[in-house]
Subunit: 443 residues, 2 copies
């Protein structure tokens, strides 16, 4: 199987390209914008995820012999279009929000600029990556807020498609999780990995005691023992009997967690295992984590809810043409007006206005013209939100790979500090700050 | 990047393997079972998806130099375990439900048999594939039932992670969809692809008329024109003016669809375009499709809801040890008893009992012993549900590739006919048929 990512594309993009090559509009200079019309699920902020991953996939977005043969044999496009695609590489530019940055309705998360041919065929791959990773990052950030200083581990690989699982582990880490169970995410993105034993480990052995002893022999008393295969109280007793009061931790994966955590903590303390940590892992989401804030829990493991965006598995971002050359070569801002799905034409330059370091609004300057507007000086407290991501077809390397992930996580944790307190509540609401459009001429 | 799938694995599987190699339990013969405790979302039946894909991924489940280096450098496991993994390939056997088969709570969708070492490390990859693909297939089947004879196209790639999108297109096709917009799914799995133009096509041009004319010039009048970029009524008028009454179709992607479809149909008929088909594509799910049953719609395009399992993005299947060798080499059925997460020990042989061809129950014979139970003759109307999928490490090729997908789709459409009528309702309910466990000795 080829490593090309070029067919991770909806057919209509190539059909449009084909038709545009015939009528000459393929060469029109275009601006496409990737943005969310609203925040899913009444969330108060969104978190940009996937940018660095997208840049890596763009490097492989080339039509090789295998891809061209499929397009030719299936007559997806004309022979002329096949010939064009043979030499295709994206030669345009992309600016956008840093990975880990917060976004709000209308935030120009990515602006893709190039010929129509250049830019139209990136729609699916850009949306696939950004919608998925941002949905996970947004859910993960809410869990991270709810967990406070307690560490959160992502362990939901089994509840996501095998490749999405790796991307989800990465997005959760960007948004504040501290580790993942997924080894591929560890290898590919440099994320710390964790995990000790499943229920099958206990069931494999002739007794829970045998299982615990074998685990402690192999991994040392600092390991975490899973104590709920049969009866939690007896499990804890056996765990300390086998490992001693220096046991690193116990994991609880079932039951009414606030009650169970309290009773396990009391039992551990009675047994003298006052330093033994309690990790809980049973169907947690941001609400369950918040409900455990006062419980004696030391760490959380989160599965299904984080990898599926906690009820909102896609961020609902769209990819829209917002400006193009007209027949005379001049600039035309464009927007569709379809019911409930309108868009705002023109080039956007985005800032986060702050007062005393607290975010007040998402300020979006709208301009027309092929030149990027100069950074305005009228807003001294406004932080510019867009950075170059791809310049003349070349991805900016600092956003890619493990270093890009580490930078995104750091950026996220820093900009989250700018949010007003009300943004951190979990209940449904309007976005924490309003999006304000201004005409670039007005600033 | 290596093509190995071996690190699509939770760390704890390798940690358990490591410890089991030390205490000798790694060699114990084991039966793991992959099943769902319940059907998500009050669904009346589940659809098995992903089996063929899993077999392909298993072929690549080998630890190469890259994977071993990571495990060694990060000290994920001991040097002895790294040495073991260097030679690892799955040498056990897997039996299970055919892809496309229906499943119910407790159905032994997969039974994985081998040494503990052999079988324990397949947990994550098996669950990732089966949970995702079955969630999509189950949602897709409900949409397919709701659509009746009208064709359904999957076009949700942009709302799923880029690789999950390909798997989702495949699962939707298995469960009755007729096409996908995803080109990679077309190439890899032989699924018909479709798609013509987006709103950007209209916006690229100086007028809607120019856009329609260019599309018809390139693709012929049999194409489908997207008519809702500005105003639907004017869009339809322009479409017929440009393409003539032989226009293949119009697509509507916004608005109140029952009302809009009726008015567009009336307008097309008035204009003489009585054969022009109407495709609708705006945020459809199984309920919206059912609500359009009486509307003059010819085809549906479904995006977000099908690729995200229509509110249930994971099937919630688990992978549990159900039997193993004991210290004396004899058979031990095992089960955990954790609150709300119990499992049923023993080897399962599954049948669908039918009366006059209509499914009555999921009959599961539970036996102990290393030999597979003989097929019972006591139930003449019972259809055996399990087939060999992997034999002594070798995947059964008929389930793989495009041929496997075609067979799964055919199987699904056939076995769906066995369902009682009540199974086809969309509202929340108990499973359509009960799961009945019997002791193999009783049959």
């Amino acid at each position: 199987m080829s490593a090309s990512t070029a067919l991770l594309t909806d057919r209509y993009e190539l059909t449009m390209l084909d038709a545009a090559l015939r009528d000459g509009t393929a060469r029109r200079h275009c601006l496409f914008e990737l943005f969310a019309r609203r925040l899913s699920g009444g969330r108060r902020f969104g978190v940009v995820g996937g940018t660095g991953r997208l840049l890596g996939l763009l490097r492989e977005f080339r039509f090789g012999e295998d891809e061209l043969r499929y397009l030719r044999d299936e007559r997806v496009v004309s022979p002329e279009a096949v010939a064009y695609l043979e030499g295709y590489r994206f030669t345009g530019s992309i600016t956008g929000y840093r990975e880990g940055e917060l976004y709000f309705p209308g935030s120009p998360v990515l602006t893709v600029e190039g010929s129509f041919a250049d830019a139209v065929i990136l729609e699916t791959i850009a949306l696939s990556v950004m919608n998925h990773d941002s949905a996970v990052a947004t859910a993960a950030a809410r869990m991270s807020v709810a967990a406070g200083d307690r560490p959160l581990a992502e362990m939901g690989s089994r509840r996501a498609s095998e490749s999405a699982a790796v991307a989800a582990a990465r997005a959760a880490y960007v948004a504040g999780f501290s580790a993942t169970s997924n080894l591929e995410a560890g290898r590919r993105w440099g994320i710390p990995t964790m995990g000790t034993a499943a229920h099958s480990w206990t069931l494999l052995h002739d007794s829970e005691e045998d299982a615990f002893r074998a685990q402690v022999d192999a991994l040392g008393p600092g390991t975490t023992l899973l104590v709920d295969t049969y009866d939690i109280e007896r499990g804890v007793e056996t765990a300390i009997a086998v490992a001693g009061t220096g046991l690193g931790g116990v994991r609880i994966d079932s039951g009414d967690l606030p009650a169970v955590a309290a009773s396990v903590r009391a039992q551990l303390d009675r047994l003298g295992a006052t330093k033994t940590r309690i990790t809980v892992t049973s169907d947690l989401d941001e609400y369950a984590i918040a409900a455990l804030a006062a419980s004696p829990v030391d760490a959380y493991g989160v599965g299904t809810s984080v990898v599926t965006g906690s009820g909102h598995p896609t961020a609902g971002m769209v990819y829209k043409l917002v400006a193009r050359q007209g027949a005379d070569g001049g600039w035309v801002s464009v927007a569709k007006t379809a019911e409930g799905k309108g868009s705002q034409g023109g080039r956007k330059t985005a800032f986060r206005r702050r007062t005393d370091g607290v975010a007040q609004s998402e300020l979006i300057e709208v301009s027309d013209g092929f030149e990027q507007a100069a950074q305005p000086s009228a807003y001294p407290d406004a932080r510019p939100l867009q950075v170059p991501l791809v310049i003349d077809g070349e991805p900016v390397a600092e956003h890619e790979g493990p270093a890009g992930v580490a930078a995104a996580r750091e950026h996220h944790l820093r900009v989250r500090e700018e949010l007003p307190i009300r943004a951190l509540a979990l209940s449904r609401s309007d976005p924490a700050i309003p999006t304000v459009y201004v005409d670039a001429g007005d600033s």
